[in-house]
Structures are given as C-alpha cells and as structure tokens.
Subunit: 373 residues, 2 copies
C-alpha cells in the first residue's frame, strides 16, 4: 500500500543489500514513519518481542525472514548438520519471543522443514531459506489480496444502491496491511473498492486500550488516500442507529470452524449494534486463522488478560515526543481483557482467500472440504 | 460522600465566611483535589463556563449560589427595583455560560421568581436568595438520596442470591455525586448498598472521549472506599458474556416520558449487551430530567457534536503535570458525537426520586400523575 506516495510492504529485503531485512518500525506510528534495518536473527527477535512489528501475518513473515538471517549466520557452521542445529536453535529463540503467536511457530517450522528435507549444500540451504522467506511473505500478501477481491462485490453492490454516495464502512482495531505483509484482511476489500474508484469512507474505531485503530488504521488509510474518520469505540452504535454505517468488517485472532469470532475486545458490541440495526457484519480472515477443533468459541476460546497499565495510561505524542499520561486515579485497579468472542448468530459472513461463506460449520467446510473429518 | 476520609458535598458555603461559596474544582480530578473559593457571580460564571463544575444537578446548584452572590453584590443597589434589575442581569450572564444546560436556567429563574414575589427589603432579599440557594442544593441532594433508597433493594436482592459474593455493577460515564450535590444518580444505589454493608464491586467504563468514568467515577468510588475496577468501554460486553456483571446502571441527560434514554455516547452498546445476556439495565434520574413532550427519543432527541480534538487528544497526568497527547495521525479527521439514545425496549426500569417504574409512558405517568395531559 502507499506511504508518502510510494508503494510499500511491511517487510522486505533491502534493494541495496538483499541480506538486510527492512521493516516499518510500527512503535513510532502514527507520529513518525521509521524504517528499520534488521541484520541478524537477534535483531529480528527483538523486533518481534518489542512489537516493532505486530499482527498475525506480519509476525509470521518476520519470523520467516528471521530464519533466513539465521541461515546466513549458520552458513559458517561448516556442515549441513551443524547448520541445521544452529537453525533450530535460532528457531527456538524466535518462537520464545511471543509464545502465543501461532503464525510465528508455523513460519519457523516451515523453514526448518524445508531445510531438513533439502539434502543440499550450505550455499543451497541459505538460498532455500531466502526463497522460503520470500514465499511466506508473498503468500501472505496474495491471500490478503484475494480476500479483497472476494469482498469487493459486497461494497460495489452497496455503492450501486447508494447511487454514488460514499459507502460507509466501520472497522475495529487494525486488521490492516500493517498487520500483514500487504492489503490486510478487513481493510483489503476497502482498498480494493477505493482503488476501483468506488467511493468509500471508513469509520475507524479508536480501539482502546492500545488504540490500534486511531494510531495504525487511521494512518494507513490516510497514507493510501482513503477517506476516513476516527471515532471513539462508544460511537459506532449511534452511527448505526442514524443510518451512517452501511457495512461493518473486522479481522479476527481466531475463528472456530463453526463461526464464532474471537477478535479485539469490543468487537462483540459492534456486532450486537449491527444486528440491532440490520447492518451486515463481516469478518475477513485467511484460512490459517480458523480453529478446526473448537466448536463453542464463546465458552472455549481463552481470553488473554494484559497488564492494567495499558488501561490506566494512554500513549500519544506531545511536541513530537511520544509519551504516556495517566488517566485514572493512581491507585484505582484496572482490568484489561484483550479479546471478546462474537457468537456466530451475529456474523453475516466470513471472507476468506477462497471466497465468502456463512458463519456456520457446514458453510465453512464447503469452502474448505479438506478439513472435513 | 467521603473525600480523604471527610464528608463533602460538591458545593457549599464556607464555614469561615458564609458569603464565600466553595466548590471542588473538578478539572484537576483525579490527579489533584482542589477546593476553589467563589466570591463573585463573575467567578461563578467562569467556574460554570470553564467546567470547574459539571453535571446537571451541580450546574443548577452552582447557578443557585451564583445568584446568591449576585444578590450580595446587588444589595448595594439602593432600591429593591435596582436590586432586581441587577439580579436579572447577573442571571442572564450565568445562563449564557452554558446555554444548553436546562438546570442552569431553571435555577436562575427560581431565584428571580422568589425575589420578584418577595416584597421585601434589600436585607430580606439577600437572605431569601441565600435560603433559596441552600434549598436548591438540599433538594438536589435529597432527590439523589431517595434514588439510592429506591435502588437499594434491587442490589440487596442480587446480593442475597449471590450469598455474600460481591454484586458486580457496571456503570458508564459519571452520574456520580460529582455531577450533583451529593450521592449522584447512578451511583446513589451503589453508595447506599455499600454503606448498608452489602458487598458491591463496580466496573467503571472509562467513557471516551472525555474519560469521566476513568477520571471522576473511579476517583469518587475510590475516595468513598467502594471496590471498583476501571475498564475500557470495549470490555463490558465480554464481562457480561462471562457472567461478571449482575446489574447495569447509568444516568441520563434526557429521558422521554415514553422511556427512551439519551445518555453519554456508548450507553446504547451496553444496553444491547445487557439485553443479549439477560442482565438488568436500569437508568437513575431525578424527574427533572424527563422530557414530558417528546415521544420518540431515538429519532427526536438532538445529539450534540463536539470538537474533534476531544477524540484526537487524551488528557492525563505525567509527573504530576496535567497535559494532553495526540493519539491519531495529525491530519486524520475525527467525529465526536456526545450522546446516543437507548430505546425503551432495552431499559429494564427507571429509578426516580419517587420510586421505580418501567420505561413506558403509562408506567412513568403512574409515578408522576400530575404530568398527564
């Protein structure tokens, strides 16, 4: 997507030196656009652990490139056997940075798998690791692009009904390209519509406590030129009551194959309001986000509790300096629940890389028949 | 209610000099407790305009005392006629500070009415103004206290069902004693229960964009010793899904006699979640908050739009200094809708100074038969 008028991904190999991985250091957004060079697997581990990068797809891609840098380092090991051992060690180091990030472990294992099956010399192993890292990133971007293409007709149809008036889309949190390699999930149909000349306007939920909407989604939409308005998380219900929302779309951290959607805290409230006002509520996800085992998401998906300081303090910029301010009494306790689960009955449809389906086991399995048991 | 272990109201006449009105300057909460002396009607006008005081009941009481200070100043006018003219002028000045605050105009008119009907000398007129100011404040406190007494049995019943486990109450915004003279509306049953030894715990919605929950409700509950936890506005739905909320109660800025409730933006989302999870949703209000004309609150109550800076910037404290930080891209637009309307079908009941009734015209008019047309 566009940044300062130039197309970017969230992660890429440097054009000057293909052994340097470059990322957008997202800790500085939306206040500063900082590109960071990563030269070692240790630097990649820090970038993942300290959230220079975040979002399921991007964490996976970063781990993929981390394993490529690990392979470069391991190529001095002397033997393929020693190379593989060094690579495994680096993989463990990467996985430990964010143990609950499923895509991280998946990308590390994919790299190890390729290396273990290769029967190649050290030069070939390094080349394979580079190709695999590129493939992981390309696949992520491609899946997101497809989600956009599948979602596009939904927005086009609303636009036709509205006779050229802008389609008002509401989204929560950041399921944007910053969370993936490109396009994003929830944002992908929006970018596809915008790029196709369909007038769209996005209501961007602030998304307390970490403000990924106000900070990241607003920034990426603004950079790509998509009209948008930031609102507090409280406002969506009112906007829907007033007919100011045509379409709601979010991403998801985990969706059961039966259609229950775990996503950033507050998503459930928007889904309730969409239902109450007859507004379509869609969830965009690559199929890797499905949980193919769990049937009752509302009662079974574990919800992470995070540090209360994220609620008590707000991070922002003042005179160009990023700082945090206390908004509660010093000694008031705060609760910080990271996700909620939107039950399938509130979900109009799921937009995947293979197409759209209803939030129900039989519909999901029709799109992904290989997952039938 | 208690502050630093001492009982306070939000406004009172100084014990040292009864011609000095004292208020809690709420702009410094929750970070500092500042009592401000008001000696002239001009100082009162500034205190109302610049929101040293806020909340319907408290604005009314402050206007009442402002008119008393105006009477003190006007007593040098020479004749009752000149006194009345000066008083009217001060009244207009006060009303102009926050033109949409209904209680402000009401308190000013009540003072003028008393003075105009008095046929008293200047000394008597000043005394009358003081008594009227005290009465307005006392009545406000008394109405709030009654709301607490009527709401108390609802919490007691839940406590009995829970066998001594704390009753979990969720509230949105600040309909606490800081918005009135004492007790508050939504908080009054909570204080009554706490003071009666019923274990209560309050989930305090942060209430973006102005954070009246995180800043004011959390502070007043903490000062009075009521266990509470601050949460982001996004969290309530999840807590309800998990059975962690027994009772939801809010205040209101305007409620139609048919039961539609205008309140701080986000209230509607909590009402939807309460309904979806079978949790009682009550609204506490003095009868002065009823709109006796309007029938369809959702479509007729006008919703104020405020400055977008309240969304883009967050005010908090850093190293003891209160400051604001920018949380969005500098150039992203933001929308700031102040209220939403919760339709009557989502409201379990209304708690007034006369008792509890359903959110329906016939039930409201049964409690207030003098309002039948």
């Amino acid at each position: 997507m566009q940044v300062l008028g130039k197309p970017y991904r969230t992660i890429w190999r440097s054009q000057e030196d293909p052994n340097i991985v470059q990322i957008i250091d997202q800790r500085h957004l939306p206040h500063r656009f900082v590109v960071e060079d990563l030269r070692t697997v240790d630097e990649v581990a820090i970038a993942i652990r300290d959230m220079h990068v975040r979002g399921a797809g991007l964490i996976g891609a970063t781990a993929g490139y981390g394993m490529y840098l690990a392979a470069l380092e391991a190529s001095s090991a002397g033997s393929p056997q020693a190379f593989l051992e060094a690579l495994e060690e680096s993989g463990e180091k990467l996985i430990a940075t964010r143990p609950t990030a499923v895509n991280l472990e998946w990308a590390v294992k994919r790299q190890l798998d390729v290396a273990q099956k290769a029967h190649s010399d050290l030069f070939g192993l390094v080349q394979l690791a580079r190709e695999t890292a590129d493939t992981i990133a390309d696949e992520d971007a491609d899946f997101c692009r497809r989600i956009g293409q599948h979602g596009l007709p939904l927005l086009r149809e609303i636009a036709e009904r509205k006779n050229g008036e802008a389609v008002n889309v509401l989204t929560h949190c950041n399921a944007g390209w910053l969370a993936f390699v490109d396009y994003g999930t929830a944002t992908s149909p929006i970018y596809a519509a915008h790029d196709a000349g369909i007038p769209v306007h996005v209501w961007v939920d602030e998304t307390r406590p970490r403000n990924q909407g106000a900070g990241l989604t607003a920034w990426e939409l603004g950079q790509h030129g998509v009209p948008h308005t930031v609102i507090v998380d409280n406002a969506g219900g009112y906007l829907m009551q007033q007919g100011l929302v045509d379409f709601v779309i979010t991403g998801t951290d985990r969706t059961t194959f039966t259609g229950d959607v775990a996503n950033k805290i507050g998503t459930y409230l928007k889904a309730l309001a969409a239902k109450d006002n007859g507004i379509p509520f869609y969830v965009a996800l690559p199929s890797s986000t499905f949980d193919w085992e769990m049937e009752d998401g509302v009662h079974e998906i574990p919800i992470e509790q995070r540090d209360s300081s994220e609620v008590k303090y707000v991070i922002g910029s003042r005179d160009g300096e990023v700082m945090e301010v206390l908004i509660t009494p010093e000694d008031s306790p705060a609760g910080n629940y990271a996700f909620d689960v939107t039950p399938r009955r509130l979900v109009t449809g799921l937009i995947t890389e293979r197409g759209i389906c209803g939030a129900a086991a039989d519909e999901v399995l029709r799109l992904f028949p290989e997952k039938r048991r």
